[in-house]
Amino acid sequence: MTLTQQKKLKTVLIGSLAWIIALVLFFPIFWMFLTSFKTEAQAIAFPPELFFKPTLENFAIVQERSDYLYHAMNSVVISFGATIIALIIAIPAAYSMAFFPGKRTKDILLWMLSTKMLPSVGVLVPIYLLGRDYGLLDTRTGLIIIFTLMNLPIIVWMLFSYFKDLPKEILEAARMDGATPWTEVTKVVMPLSVGGIISTGLLSIILCWNEAFWSINLTATNAAPLTAMIASYSSPEGLFWAKLSAASTLACAPIIIFGWFCQKQLVQGLTFGAVK
């Protein structure tokens, strides 16, 4: 085999492997999408039917039983709200840690990340009680607060990595030019890391959108986002696979479309700092 042939073979092998992994990851979504167009009977049929007459019946039932748009609006308000607030807190935090690190900055960053390692259920009862006492159960505000706190460590970390990559001399030049910390952040740091801020925000929106644990436990009807709506379709008796799939498809669709449009920013965001 010549060297070029070897190279070609390698490309083909790696390419196929990537496709296989992608298909395995995509399969459940594809199956959910397919199932949402089946009748309940078809949905549990074994062996599963690949070719069938699609029906929109499930979607109609979902819209009838739970107001899809209302829950979608909850998801939008909560995801964007939590993300914007988290960014407002995280940008100055990451700025100070990136440009004025103290002796304990690294420790603080690690500690913040370590809070993500705790199982959420461990704090469910105290959070639930706090939510009850402050009247935040089943409110958008309640979820926004929880989601903001939940994503803050990751957002600070990502922004910190972005800011750290900015040439320090540019900020020093701004300082010499008379920039206050505020103008330094708004006129220099933020414009220079706008890509990083956007991709961090996108990631946060996606994490909020898909969050289920707190959504299901802290909301009932008023503030329930789409994830809580999906959960309401699993029932202890009767057939529900098709309706559950329809609800899930409806819940996933906006964020998948949103993610599709923002692909470039997202990829950039997930490889933060590593590729410049």
Binding site: E172, A179, L192
Partner: protein, 367 residues
């Protein structure tokens, strides 16, 4: 009272003593160059003057006002960075006017100042471009322009030419010299390039390990270094340092046995006592290759032709290696035996603690 005075300035990092008591006075309009090997503290000193680093102790006064505790922008200084540090998201015009806009200067004043600076730096056709659309030299000029529009009391330059290629560096060096002449503003310039230091400076400050080794005009440093460090640091190729084997006082002359040879000079030139274990310093350009009867002798290990001149690397009869400057068309070949004369008027003597023993010039003795 000087324009800029630095008084007992100290800078400690966690476990590193970067500046060890800097005292320096700079007059208005001077072009001062800080030079020294990497890690000597020259950049730290400049950044401390700028206010980008805080000092651990000591005072800095500028134009009668103490500035050591002021924020960088309040010190009335402008800095040009090694990496230019232009704002990549702003056009040339916005880069130039950033400081004035932050200071909320009136628009007409901003326009006027940007116009003057951009014309004098030939940037007037590039005002709408972003930094990434500029060449290295143009970026450098924008960085300088950004400093000029602020009309600061002192310009600070942190190795501004080191990112440019050799040809451009020479050109920008000349432009800086011209700029200094034109503006007459005090400038402090950090470099590790001694050609820049020698050509630009009114006075050079040589730093070593966080301390000032010597301050002087370029020629003073070349001719009257005060220490082994300065003697070796200034001049390319380096000054030859040859240990003195024996000193004989022959009445009115002092005879030195060095490098397997001998040389002598009038005792009356010495301003202080010389002890044994001293060293003789002589630059390659003050040694001459002669046909016979030289002060020193040896054989040529290698000859380097630079076109305008040549350098002979000679191993002396006592095995020490020295460098001798030779004529461009020198026909000397490798391995050839040579004789060398020392221009005793140009020698320096170092005592055993590496301080230069003060001597007066030969002509002074005969006057």
């Amino acid at each position: 009272m000087s324009y800029l005075t630095i008084n007992r300035l100290q800078k400690h990092y966690d476990n590193y003593h970067a500046l060890r008591g800097i005292n320096l006075s700079i007059e208005e309009g001077e072009f001062i160059v800080f030079v020294g090997p990497s890690g000597c503290g020259k950049s730290t000193l400049l950044r401390t003057i700028a206010g980008l680093e805080t000092s651990s102790s000591g005072k800095i006064n500028l134009d009668g006002q103490e500035i050591s505790e002021l924020a960088p922008a309040k010190r009335d200084l402008a800095m040009v960075f090694q990496s230019y540090a232009l704002y990549p998201h702003m056009t040339v015009k916005e880069n130039l006017s950033f400081a004035l806009r932050l200071a909320k200067a009136p628009q007409t004043e901003i326009d006027e100042k940007v116009r003057i600076a951009s014309t004098s730096l030939q940037l007037d056709t590039l005002l709408e471009r972003k930094p990434k659309e500029l060449s290295g030299g143009q970026r450098q000029r924008v960085a300088i322009g950004r400093a000029i529009v602020r009309q600061p009391k002192v310009f600070l330059f942190d190795e501004p030419l080191s990112n440019l290629d050799a040809a451009l560096r020479v050109q920008m060096r000349l432009e800086l010299a011209r700029l200094h002449k034109q503006l007459g503003t005090t400038m402090i310039y950090v470099t590790h390039d001694q050609v820049e230091a020698m050509t630009l400076a009114d006075r050079v400050v040589i730093l070593n390990a966080g301390q000032i080794e010597q301050v002087g005009t370029p020629l003073e440093l070349y001719r009257q270094p005060k220490s082994r460090f300065v003697a070796e640091f200034i001049g390319t190729p380096k000054m030859n340092l040859i240990p003195i084997d024996q000193i004989d006082n022959q009445g009115d002359r002092l005879a030195l046995s060095v490098g397997g040879g001998k040389t002598s000079f009038p005792v009356s030139r010495l301003q202080e006592d010389i002890n044994t274990n001293s060293t003789l310093g002589i630059r390659p350009e003050h040694l001459a290759l002669v046909d016979s009867d030289g002060d020193l002798s040896g054989h040529v290990e290698l000859i380097e032709h630079l076109g305008s001149e040549a350098y002979a690397h000679v191993r002396l009869s006592n095995q020490q290696r020295i460098i001798v400057k030779a004529a461009a068309r020198s026909r000397i070949k490798d391995e050839q035996q040579v004789h060398i004369n020392i221009d005793t008027d140009e020698i320096i003597l170092l005592n055993d603690s590496d301080r230069v023993i003060s001597m007066i010039a030969e002509e002074t003795v005969y006057d």
